[in-house]
């Protein structure tokens, strides 16, 4: 598709050097920018998921559990809160996050994934709340 000059310069606002002023250079820069935008819209979803997992992991470690055990517990218990929500709870609602984590801890201990002494150690270590 051909984009006329006005549209190109509108999209090229903030670009460096002649990419925002000269049409021949701007055209190439804008095309590249739009391609990157397309790719990045897909990357954004991956990046955020990775960020949520990091946050959940950090929250779980505060309570002496690790991310994988916690996820195992939630899956066994058929809790379908997704990672975005759990990470939001971990950040802003620490009591709710702890409630979710306790559920998962019980299940994991019952299924042998979390040895009893580790669970007890975790509970004793849990000084954050």
């Amino acid at each position: 598709m051909v984009m006329n000059r006005e549209k190109i310069f509108q999209l090229a606002k903030g670009f460096r050097g002649r990419s925002k002023n000269c049409i021949r250079i701007a055209r190439a820069s804008v095309e590249k920018a739009l391609q990157y935008a397309y790719i990045s819209r897909k990357l954004k979803k991956r990046d955020y998921r990775s960020l949520w997992i990091t946050r959940i992991s950090a929250g779980a470690k505060e309570h002496g559990m690790n991310y994988s055990t916690m996820m195992y517990g939630l899956k066994q218990d058929n809790i379908q809160l997704n990672k975005k929500m759990i990470s939001e709870l971990a950040m802003n609602e620490p009591y709710s996050f702890k409630a979710v984590l306790d559920r998962s801890r019980d299940v994991a201990t019952a299924n042998g994934k979390l040895p009893p002494h580790a669970a007890l150690k975790a509970i004793l270590k849990d000084t954050s709340l």
Binding site: Q80, L81, K84, E93, Y95, V100
Partner: protein, 220 residues
Amino acid sequence: MQTATTSKISAAIARPVKTYDKYSAVVACRPVASIPSATARLTLGHSTSCECVKCGFRSAVADSSFLGSFNSRASYRKISTKAMAEEEPVVEETTIEVEEVEEVAAAQAAPAAPVSAFDAVIEVGGTQQLVSEGRFYSCNSLKVEPGTTIAFERVLAVKDGDNLKIGQPYVSGAKVMATVLENYKGKKEIVYKMKPKKHTRSKRGHRQHLTKFLVTSVTP
């Protein structure tokens, strides 16, 4: 009315002051010691995350940037039609003055529990959202006329007083009532594909259809 509202505020620490005014809401932010005043004007707009302009405190409201595909099984149930369209969608009718909230907040000692800015986690539009009474949120198009009341019955977790009820997967009997405010289209995104040196290009614009709904009540 006066005592009811002050007791309401003192009961739920920094529960948002709800005056709905199309695109902005006066919300009380968390009374942390460093904040000079306890209220700030937030612009909620089309995004569902709200950040206090004064203290930067970010309430736990869902991030709307990942609206997945619309689930064909409707996650909401239409309760009533547009007969209620004339009614103002103001949830909590009170307009509390700034001084009152500040004074109450100052009177409280350091708050024991973190602010609960969320009442429930619902599944809507293929995504999950943290919702709270009296706030509005965006979701994928619900194909419902503005003004209708709808009920969200797929509640994954809900606050019940001091406890959190977690569903397996859904909490039975929990419900979130909401009013649809408007159906609007998101910002245009240009979808541009090209292969260099191969004489192929395609350009297409896309505007996502979204719905804004105001949560009126949350029943655990």
